[in-house]
C-alpha cells in the first residue's frame, strides 16, 4: 500500500516547484526569441545605413568640380598662325587650344615658358577637356582672338582630387599622381582666389570620355529616358489590356490558366534571361541595331509587363462589384462598363503599379549588358535607334575604370540613380495616398 502511494504523493508535492522552474526558463526563452527578432531587424537596417552612408560619403564630392579662373590670352600666334581664318574656318576647329589654356595658367602662376619641365607639369594641371570650352568661345565670337579674357577652366582630375583633400600628401612624391610643385601651385592659386568649386553640371551633361573630369551621365540619361518612354508606351497599354481580359472577360478555362501560369513565371525569370531573349530575337532575328535604346526598351518592356499586369489586376479587383452591376443595370454593354466605369476608378492603382515597374526597369543592368549597351558613346543619341548607354550600365562601366576620380564619379552616379528611384517611388506613394478610396 505504501509502495503504491509514495510515488504518487511525491509527484503531487513536486509539481508546483517544477512548474516554477519551467516558467523561468520559458520566459528567458521568450526574451531571447524576442531579442533575435530585434537583432534581425537591426542587421537589416544597419546594412541599409552602411550602404547609403558609404555611397553618399564617397560620392557627394562628385557634384562639385574644381575650376580655375584665369585671364586667358587668345593669342593669334597659337590659334591661327597663318591668319587664314577668313578663308578656312576649319583652322578654328582644329587649333591647339590646350596650349592656350596651359599658357594662361602658366602666366597666372608666374612660370617661365622656357622652363620645359615646369610647363609639362602645368599642362597636366589643367584638363584637356578645356579644348571644347575655348573652341566654343572662339567659334561664337572670332573677334576674341588676340584679346585677353577671364575664362573658368576645368582643373585636371588629379588636381581636383587634391583640392578635395582626397590625395594623401604623406605618401612620397613619386608614388602619387600630384607633385609637390603642383600642390604649391594649387595653394598659390587658392590664395589668389582663382580656384573655385562650382556645381558639377558636367556630371549630368557630358558623354563618355576617357578623362574623368569630362565624363558625365548625359548619354546615359538620354538612353535611360528613351527606354523608359518605350517601356511606358508598350508595357502600359499591353499590360492593362491583358489585365482587363483576364480579370473581366476571361472564362475559367485551360487557356486562361496557361496565361496566368506564364505571367507568374515571367515575373520570376532571372533578368539576364530576358537579355538573352533580346539578343537572339530582337538583334539576331529582327536585325535591330546593337546598343540601341529601342532594343533595351523592348527587353525591359517584357520584363516589366508581369509587374504591371499583377498591379493592374489588383486595382481592377478592388473596384467593388456594385459599380459593375449599376453600370450594367442602366444599360451599358460589358465593354462600356469596363472602359467607362471600372477602368477610371482603377487608374490610380494602375499608375502606382506602373511607376513601381518603371523604377525597377530603370535600375536593371544585366539584360542591357548583353544587348551591347556597354559602349563608349560620346554623343547624345538623337533617336531610339542610335547607340546609347543607360544609367546603371554607365555606373558599371565607371566601376571598371582604374582611376581614383572615377570611383568618386561611380558613387556620384549611384546617388543620381537613387535620387531618380526615390522620386519615382515617392510619386507612387503620394499618388496612392491622394487617390486611394475606401469603398
Amino acid at each position: 500500500m505504501t509502495d503504491a502511494a509514495l510515488p504518487h504523493s511525491a509527484v503531487e508535492a513536486d509539481a508546483p516547484a517544477r512548474r516554477d522552474f519551467g516558467l523561468k526558463r520559458r520566459h528567458a526563452a521568450e526574451r531571447r526569441f524576442r531579442l533575435y527578432g530585434i537583432v534581425a531587424i537591426f542587421i537589416g537596417l544597419g546594412f541599409l545605413a552602411i550602404l547609403l552612408v558609404s555611397i553618399v560619403s564617397k560620392g557627394y564630392t562628385a557634384f562639385v568640380q574644381t575650376a580655375i579662373t584665369v585671364p586667358v590670352e587668345f593669342s593669334a600666334d597659337i590659334i591661327d598662325k597663318d591668319n587664314e581664318r577668313a578663308t578656312n574656318p576649319r583652322v578654328l576647329v582644329s587649333a591647339n587650344y590646350p596650349v592656350v589654356a596651359r599658357n594662361a595658367v602658366a602666366k597666372a602662376l608666374g612660370v617661365s615658358p622656357d622652363d620645359k619641365a615646369a610647363m609639362r607639369e602645368v599642362a597636366k594641371f589643367v584638363s584637356d577637356g578645356n579644348r571644347a570650352t575655348l573652341r566654343q568661345i572662339v567659334m561664337e565670337d572670332p573677334s576674341v582672338i588676340g584679346t585677353t579674357r577671364d575664362v573658368t577652366l576645368l582643373a585636371a582630375a588629379d588636381i581636383d582630387s587634391a583640392n578635395k583633400g582626397q590625395i594623401d600628401l604623406a605618401v612620397p612624391q613619386d608614388k602619387r599622381k600630384v607633385s609637390d610643385r603642383q600642390i604649391a601651385w594649387l595653394d598659390q592659386l587658392k590664395a589668389e582666389g582663382a580656384i573655385s568649386t562650382p556645381f558639377n553640371w558636367g556630371l549630368l551633361t557630358f558623354g563618355a570620355s576617357s578623362r574623368p573630369e569630362t565624363s558625365g551621365l548625359g548619354v546615359a540619361l538620354a538612353g535611360s529616358l528613351y527606354m523608359m518612354a518605350i517601356v511606358l508606351l508598350c508595357a502600359l497599354p499591353i499590360g492593362v489590356a491583358a489585365s482587363i481580359y483576364l480579370e473581366e472577360f476571361a472564362k475559367k478555362d485551360r487557356f486562361t490558366d496557361f496565361i496566368e501560369v506564364n505571367i507568374n513565371n515571367l515575373a520570376a525569370v532571372p533578368s539576364i534571361v530576358f537579355g538573352l531573349l533580346g539578343l537572339a530575337v530582337f538583334i539576331n532575328f529582327f536585325g535591330l541595331p546593337r546598343s540601341a535604346p529601342i532594343v533595351g526598351g523592348l527587353v525591359l518592356t517584357l520584363m516589366t509587363l508581369p509587374t504591371i499586369i499583377i498591379a493592374t489586376r489588383a486595382a481592377l479587383r478592388s473596384v467593388p462589384p456594385s459599380i459593375r452591376t449599376a453600370a450594367l443595370g442602366v444599360g451599358a454593354s460589358k465593354m462600356q462598363m469596363v472602359f467607362d466605369h471600372v477602368l477610371p476608378l482603377a487608374t490610380p492603382g494602375i499608375l502606382t503599379g506602373t511607376i513601381i515597374g518603371l523604377a525597377r526597369a530603370l535600375g536593371e543592368t544585366a539584360p542591357l549588358l548583353l544587348i551591347g549597351m556597354v559602349a563608349f558613346v560620346a554623343d547624345a543619341p538623337t533617336s531610339p535607334l542610335s547607340p546609347a548607354t543607360a544609367l546603371p550600365v554607365q555606373i558599371y562601366m565607371w566601376s571598371n575604370e582604374a582611376e581614383r576620380a572615377f570611383v568618386e564619379r561611380t558613387s556620384g552616379a549611384i546617388i543620381v540613380l537613387l535620387a531618380f528611384l526615390a522620386i519615382m517611388n515617392i510619386a507612387a506613394i503620394l499618388l496612392r495616398r491622394h487617390f486611394e478610396r475606401r469603398w
Binding site: R26, A29, E30, R32, F33, R34, Y36, G37, A40, I41, I43, G44, L45, F47, L48, I50, L51, I55, P237, A241, A242, Y245, F258, I259, N262, I263, N264, L266, A268, V269, P270, I272, V273, L276, L277, L279, A280, V281, N284, L302, L305, S333, K334, M335, L362, G363, E364, T365, A366, L370, G372, V374, P392, I395, Y396, S399, T410, L418, L421, N425
Partner: protein, 489 residues
Amino acid sequence: MSAGWVVAIVLAIGAVAYFFAAQRARTQRDGADRRTEQAHSLPTYHGWLSFLLATLPALIVFLVLSSVSSGLLENRVRTEVTSHVGDSAGSSLQIGIVHNAANALTRLGLSGTNVPTSYAALRDMASSAGIVLAQSGEDYMVPLAASVNEDAGAHRLLIHGLTLALALAGAAFAYSRIRLRLRARNEVERIVLWSLIAASSVAILTTVGIVLSMLGETMRFFSEINPLNFFFGTVWDPRFAAAGSTGEEGQFGLIPLLSGTLYIALVSMLFAVPVGLMAAVYMGEYATPRIRSIVKPLLELLAGIPTIVYGIFAVVTLGPFLRDLSAALSGGFAFIQSQSVFTAGIVMGVMLIPVVSSLSDDVITAVPRAMRDGSLALGATRSETIRRVILPAALPGIVGALLLTASRAIGETMIVVLAAGVAARLTINPFEAMTTITVKIVNQLTGDLEFNSPQTLVAFALGLTLFAITLGMNVYALYIVRKYREQYE
C-alpha cells in the same frame, strides 16, 4: 518613303474615316423618323468601326509583307554568298558585308549604271562620304548589293501601294456600310475583345520566344560540343581562339559554374533566411503598429535598391573591409580575398532580406487566428506559439517562399559579376573567388564576337540551364504556395 510615313498616312486615313463616318451616322440618325426607325449604335461607334476597318487590315498586311520581303532578300543574299564561299562559319560575316555595301549604295545614291564595278572602288567612294566599310569585301558583292537594293525598292513600292490602297478601300467599305440598324457597337466591341486577348497572349509569346530562341542556339552549340562534356565537364576554359584560326577548342564544363552558383546562393540564403524570417516574425507578432509602420518600409527600401548598387558596395566597401579585417585577425595574411564567395553571398543576402521577410510575412499572417488563440489559451508563451504552432502550420508556405528566394539568388547577376570574381574553379573555401553561370553569360557575350563560335553560343546553353533550374523551382514553389493557401481557406 519610309515605313514611318506609311504608318502615319494610314493612321491619318483612319482619322479622316472616323470623322466622316461619325458625321454620316449622325445625319442618318437625325434625319430618321424616330417612331419607326431607331439608330442601333452611337455615331462615335460608327466612327471607330471605320477607323479600325481602315487601319487594321492595312497595317497587318504591311507588317506581314514587309517581313516576307526582308526574308526573301535575306535568303537570296545567303544563297548567293554560300555559292561563292561555301556554307562556312564566315558566311554570316560575308552576308553582313553585303548588307553594309547595299546600305552604302543607298546612302551614296548609286544605282543602275552608276554602281562601281569593284568593291575597292565602292569602298573608296564610301569612305570619302564618311561611311566605313569592311576591308574584306569581294567584287561579286557589289552587283549583288545593287540588285538587292533594286529588289528592295520594287518590293517597297508594291507594299506601300498595297497598304495605302487597302486603307482607302477599308475606309470606303466602312463608309458605304453605314446604316441606322448597323450593329457598329457590337462589331467594335468584338475587335476590342480580340485585341485584349492578343495582349494577354504576349506573356505566352514571351515564354515561347525565350524557350525557342535559346533552344535553337543551344542546339547549334551542342552540334559542335558534346552535351556530356558540357553537363559533366569539370573544367571551364573556353579559350577564345584568335579570329580565323581553328583547331583550338576550349573546354566548356558546367560543373565549376554550377557549384559556384549554388555555393554563393547557399551562403546568401544562410544569411538572409534567419534574418528575414526573424524580422518578419518580430514585425508580425511583437512590434507595435507604430514601429511596424516605420520599420517595414525601411526594410523594403533594401528591395528597391538596384543590384548594381549592391555590387559596387561589395567591391568598394565590404570586400576591402573583409580583406583588411582578415589580415588584421591573422596577423598579415588576408585569408578573405576581396572578391570571394563569402563577400558576394553576404551582399546578396542583404538584398534578399526584404524578399524573405515580405514573403514569409504573407504566409505567417495567413495562419488562422484560431490556431494562435488556441495555443495562447493553453498557456503557451508567444515564442512557443510561434515556434510550435505558427511556424509548423506555415511551413509549406515558408518552404515555397524560400524556393522563390533561392531562385532569385541563383539568377542574380550584377552582384556576382562585381563581387564573386571570374575565375572558374572548384573550391570548398568560401573565402576564395568562385564564379557563377550568370557571370559567364555576361563574360561570353560582352565584347565584339562572332555569333557562330561555340564561345558565344555556350552563353545560350548556360542561359537555358539557368532558365530550366529557376523555372522548375518557381513552378514547384507556386504549386506549394497555392496548395497551402487553399488548405486554410
